[in-house]
Symmetry: C2
Subunit: 331 residues, 2 copies
């Protein structure tokens, strides 16, 4: 552990949380000290044993980790109790079901006076609106939070802010993503959140589904979900950054294939605008097909967490959108 | 003029400087108060008449602007004399011939205690190294400077930092640009700097060429210059941001067609890396062919200037690379 390494807590140990553990284990400047799931948590100030976490069965709780694991009915409360003297940054890799789940957790951190840096991969506009309401209280406790720091919103939103620099007026931002996973169970929460975007579904309806319900739905669709006009906070973040004057200029959709790790389409952000000399054109940012969802969500989320810590260390507190700052490289 | 508009000075009135004037005239939050060329300058605290600047003949000095224009053999000295109480931001649109020209100008601002925000579109690595040596003195005078804030380095470099977030290790960053201009005289300084990158040329040799020499060279090459392995500060900026561990992983080249406004190739940044799960892949950022060089250089440079001002207003002084921050939208 280098002296300047960030002591990290990860909230959530599903598909994305586990991928985060793997990525963090390959980064010298990050030092995983705490992680929790709904049934327990693991903590070790000298660093958690990544292999022990990866060896857990898919349905086994972190409570089962020999030595460092403990069962708890309020594992997030346990992380909060550790205190900000033990944790330099918190990566939130929790599913946001229901919509007020993550904002509610942050309120608990604030109430406890927990002073740190946070990032999340929150997706829904309505959830992010709740997050931004926490600005004054986050400032009071001297915490800094970057929200929407995954792939979309996150990486692709920030690429749109960059692309917008060439234009006088932005006419449209189209985000069209492709995700391929070998089984839906690998990323249960992500798939549930995606189902909630289907025209005939919503968050409550998706949350109430059993595993068998989900499998029936996926089977009927050949394992694929094609989503259009998704409620994604790219619109709020691009409005906040001044890229669009109206949220309806931002359109997000995509295809997730839950039966094939190969992406069904290339994830692409296309920004169309008008230049100072009256030309209409489009800049594009295209993710390599071989990069999986976890690489494109967790990589940026950690880069933004480092930026959140930088902001905090420079006395800039409160909540920011991923569209407002560059993620930093995490070595 | 809105109360929060940035009072802007532009150094340089060549092709890029003139394009900057046009772009600034379409931005409500920027207020052009001063501009200079080698033979004179124009100043008006209530805002310069953009039409009067655009009406000047290509070879006519700003000194010829009725009312606001004045001849001077030290026009940059005249801008410095205006003082930082009159200017909120300085956009440097000067050719950097010779290599120490722009660093030398900034030293003059520093010596005068001029406290403001700056951005430039500097290209050469060796020139940018000189710029970074000014860090301590820029901090002393409470100025903030973002360097390499054009297209390459600038827009494309920052896209590389974003793209790198998905990868554990970056293997290569390839920037391949295309520029089309209807005549070389429109962007004389840019073409001269490009000629200096040809294998058999250097900055001194390019600087010594007459207009007839340049025309002969371009005619012999069908109006096109194809450049490989250019000395471009994208390498330094990506090393600084931690994207590459070695500058030779960054390659910059491109084609400029001086006889056709249509781009000969699409400007593309390709970043290739290895993911946490061992895959090799590439993210790409592609500029729309209809966007001209000026839109892609001056747009970002103004966005970074606004960011430099934001940093200064938050007490963060010194020099930063474009790879370290997001440009802000300029409304």
């Amino acid at each position: 552990m280098s002296e300047t390494a960030m002591r990290l807590a990860i909230l959530g140990a599903g598909g994305l949380g586990k991928a985060a553990v793997q990525i963090v284990s390959q980064k010298r400047s990050l030092h995983l000290v705490a992680i929790c799931d709904s049934r327990g948590y693991a903590y070790n100030p000298s660093g958690l044993d990544v292999q022990a976490i990866m060896k857990l069965e898919p349905d086994q709780s972190l409570a089962g980790i020999p030595g460092d694991g403990k069962a708890s009915t309020d594992s997030i409360g346990e992380i909060i109790k550790l205190g900000s003297s033990e944790i330099d940054g918190v990566l939130i890799a929790l599913p946001n079901l229901p919509n007020e789940f993550i904002p509610g957790i942050i309120e608990r951190f604030i109430e406890a006076g927990f002073e740190t840096a946070f990032s999340d991969a929150l997706k829904r506009t309505s959830a992010m609106e709740q997050m931004f309401r926490l600005t004054p209280t986050l400032k009071q406790v001297k915490s800094t939070y970057i929200t929407g720091a995954g792939a979309s919103p996150g990486l692709l939103t920030t690429a749109a802010v960059l692309a917008a620099q060439s234009y006088m007026e932005v006419e449209a931002v189209d985000i069209w993503w492709g995700v391929g996973i070998s089984s839906w169970e690998e990323y249960k929460a992500t798939v549930m959140e995606d189902i909630a975007h289907l025209p005939e579904y919503n968050l409550e309806k998706a949350e109430a589904m059993s595993d068998e319900d989900v499998e029936r739905l996926l089977d009927a669709r050949d394992g694929k979900l094609e989503l259009h006009n998704m409620e994604h906070a790219d619109d709020l973040l691009l409005e906040l950054a001044g890229v669009v004057d109206s949220r309806d200029k931002v359109r997000v959709g995509g295809i997730i294939d839950t039966s094939n790790a190969k992406k069904p389409v290339s994830t692409t952000m296309t920004l169309t605008g008008k230049t100072y000399d009256g030309k209409t054109s489009s800049h594009r940012f295209i993710l390599g097909d071989e990069t999986c969802m976890a690489a494109n969500v967790i990589g940026p989320a950690l880069g933004y967490l480092k930026r959140a810590r930088w902001l905090k260390d420079n006395g800039l507190y409160g909540i920011y959108g991923s569209s407002q700052f560059m993620p930093m490289m995490v070595g």
